[in-house]
Amino acid sequence: MRFDCDFAAGAITALVGPSGSGKSTLLNLLAGFEVPQSGAIRFDGEDMARVPVSERPVSMVFQENNLFAHLSVFENVALGLSPSLRLDPTDRDAAEEALASVGLGGYGARLPGQLSGGERQRVALARVIVRRKPVLLLDEAFASLGPALRLEMLDLVARIHSERGMTTLMVTHFPEDARRIAPQTVFLAAGTVVAGGPTETLLDPGTAPQAIRDYLGSAEST
């Protein structure tokens, strides 16, 4: 695989492409879960090669298992403030506040198993908020939710983005996700970046390159 691209700071960019195209690998590289064989990953000009996972300016939300099932919702959020759960009163307030801002005020004592799939992802976003990292990576974070819930979650991401201006990269299978909140889109196929640009033109069946039109299929052109 070979990736050559840059992402605008403070913008939401969608990563679109067929499965196996390397979308998740790209996010894993950025987060530090995988190491490039050659080349460099730069954030704000600084090379990330020697920066350990926890020091990178990145929060990542997976499709599932974002929460430790044996820890309470509150503790799961608070881990973003102190990885050993040593919390002072301001930390506790911050965690509660973050939970309230994703619409889960008062849910802190519950276990993740008592929450719905959408609520669990909200908790994961609450932790993203308290971590205050400048980059947010969403790896098909909402793919397993129903359509209405998915759109709701996208709007929540858009709100968090407008409040904090995080550079947000979002892997998704749904072109409408990109159209809804991501002004920029990068299209990947076969382990490499095929095209990038404004979502409107890149994912418009009329103006898109052939490879993207193949991916979108006839359902999108009608």
């Binding site: 987060a31 530090g32 879960f33 995988e34 190491v35 020697r50 350990p52 996972v53 926890s54 020091e55 990178r56 990145v58 929060s59 990542m60 997976f62 599932e64 298992n65 974002n66 430790f68 044996h70 820890l71 881990l79 973003g80 990885p83 050993s84 759960l85 971590r131």
Partner: protein
């Protein structure tokens, strides 16, 4: 007709169940005979015998201590192996940790005496440092041997438990910047704890029924377990009443331990396989890495050194002279013949039981609960765990000598009891293949009218062949190394290799014993490696199929 073949478990399975139950019943026959008028008084008289209660207490104490120590050392080694997921040789260490399970206990005892006994390498090192080293004979030796067998087992079980952790947890813990302590507490420990509970119950059960280690390292009446006391009552004191009472107590204790194991969700064959951990490259601090590396090194040396001693001492023995001894040649032939027969019997029983379970399971495909047939078959396969081999052998010994020479029955008893011993392991290896074959091809076979032997030959056998060979190799290794049954039934006429080693040890011919140990070790380890390779090809093929 078709529906019955689906729901019934099949004749072969029920015959196997009957055979296992009959064999275990031998342990209870003397109790029944003794309970007849005239005999009951003798058993009741044995109740006052201090030997019985002293061995009961020692059995429980040594098993509890062995379990505690095994886990105490297993936790840091497992945690270090989990942290250091990508060092070269990690796979080798894990494979090394699977070997003690199949190493004949008598061989391990010889090696442990060579290391920690008088003039042993480790004890001399400790003494030259100005410290005292307790005698290997007694509780110390028993604990060292039990930790050698069970610490690696616990490590494998714990790593297997950790493999069930979602990969995201791992990544999250690093992204959130958890240190070793926080990660252990919040991420690793919650997955380690249930695995430790099941490891603890399994190890406790193995130690409660430990025979060879205690027989050879136990020092006199102070360090005698129930099983060894049974053996002594039968072979030295001819105190049948005491043997029967001891057997009864032992069955009660193992039944209790087995209940604990079942409640803890433990599995007898746990540790046979280790789930793969997702490799993941993380930069870590040097001090943490050094501690992990030292922990792994010490754990590995503890397991590896006995093997090195076996090889070293065995090679310096007069192997050529040993091969020329008529006694050795006879024991080797006896071991191979009886072992092969026992392994064949174990595999046949397991195949029959597994097919029975698969057929019974197919009958309830749309209902969640296991049928009575399934449960009965499953329980009969683990009967040997509740009624341990030495107790069964002792029971049949008492019964047979009422009618004829018990020693003449040695071959039959060794083959059947050793086969029953291997069944719980063999069935765990065979069952997944058999149920897989049934699930995939049941309907097709019914449609085509494939039944009975032709179905076995054309459909089932090609799919379960590899698992069966694996089970055969493991069963053979287990029976080759067993000393329990032959210790009771062995005589000048019927001797196996472990029995010969015990005799040579008793007559202080340590050179011979060392040579024999190397030969027996090489045989069982070769079998384990064959099984290991077969298992790996199997899983590689499964991966490529999905």
């Amino acid at each position: 007709m078709a529906t019955r073949s689906l729901t019934g478990a099949g004749t072969a399975a029920w015959i196997s169940v009957l055979a296992l139950v009959l064999l275990a019943a031998g342990a209870f026959l003397p109790l029944a005979i003794m309970a007849l008028p005239g005999g009951g008084g003798a058993v009741a008289g044995a109740l006052g015998d201090p030997v019985v209660w002293r061995s009961l207490r020692f059995t429980l104490v040594q098993a509890a201590l062995s379990t505690g120590l095994s886990l105490l050392f297993a936790v840091p080694v497992a945690a270090a192996l989990y942290e250091m997921r990508r060092f070269p040789g990690r796979g080798l260490v894990l494979r090394l940790f699977a070997l003690p399970l199949a190493l004949p206990q008598i061989v391990a005892v010889l090696a442990i005496v060579g290391l920690y006994g008088e003039r042993g390498a480790v004890s001399r090192m400790v003494e030259s440092a100005g410290l005292g080293f307790p005698s290997i004979y007694g509780l110390t030796g028993i604990l060292i041997a039990h930790v050698f067998f069970n610490m690696p087992l616990a490590v494998r079980i714990v790593l297997g438990g950790l493999a069930s952790m979602p990969g995201e947890y791992d990544r999250l813990s690093y992204q959130l910047g958890m240190g070793f302590r926080a990660r252990f507490r919040h991420v690793v420990w919650p997955f380690m704890r249930p695995a430790l509970a099941s490891a603890a119950s399994l190890i406790f059960m193995l130690c409660v029924t430990s025979f060879t280690v205690v027989l050879t390292l136990g020092g006199g009446p102070r360090a005698t377990t129930l099983e060894v006391a049974i053996y002594q009552a039968l072979t030295f004191d001819f105190d049948i009443a005491r043997a029967v009472l001891l057997a009864g107590v032992q069955i009660a204790v193992t039944a209790l331990a087995f209940g604990l194991l079942a409640r803890a969700g433990g599995e007898v064959s746990a540790g046979l396989t280790v789930g793969a951990l997702r490799p993941f490259l993380v930069r870590r601090h040097v001090p943490g890495q050094a501690v992990s590396a030292i922990t792994i090194l010490v754990g590995t040396l503890f397991v590896l050194l006995p093997f090195a001693v076996i090889i070293w001492r065995g090679l310096s023995a007069d192997l050529m002279g040993l091969f020329g001894q008529a006694g050795f040649q006879r024991a080797l032939a006896t071991s191979l013949i009886l072992g092969t027969l026992a392994a064949c019997l174990a595999v046949s029983l397991s195949l029959a039981l597994a097919s029975g379970m698969a057929r019974a399971a197919a009958g309830r495909r749309f209902r969640g609960e296991r049928t009575r047939a399934e449960r009965a078959i499953g329980q009969s396969s683990s009967l040997i765990l509740v009624v341990p081999p030495v107790v069964i052998a002792a029971g049949w010994f008492v019964v047979i000598r009422q009618f004829s020479s018990a020693y003449a029955a040695a071959p039959v008893m060794v083959v059947t009891i050793n086969a029953a011993m291997a069944v719980p392991f063999a069935i765990r290896l065979i069952l997944p293949a058999v149920t897989g074959a049934a699930e995939r091809y049941d309907r097709l076979c019914l449609q085509l009218g494939l039944r009975g032997f032709s179905r076995l030959r054309l459909v089932t056998w090609p799919l379960v062949r590899r698992a069966t060979l694996l089970a055969f190799a493991f069963s053979l290794a287990l029976s080759l190394g067993d000393l329990g049954v032959i210790a009771i039934f062995g005589s000048q006429d019927v001797q196996t290799l472990p029995y010969l080693i015990l005799q040579r040890m008793g007559s202080y011919r340590t050179q011979d014993a060392a040579g024999l140990a190397l030969i027996l070790c090489a045989m069982t380890m070769a079998l384990m490696m064959i099984a290991d390779r077969a298992g790996k090809e199997d899983s590689a093929r499964e991966r490529s199929e999905t």
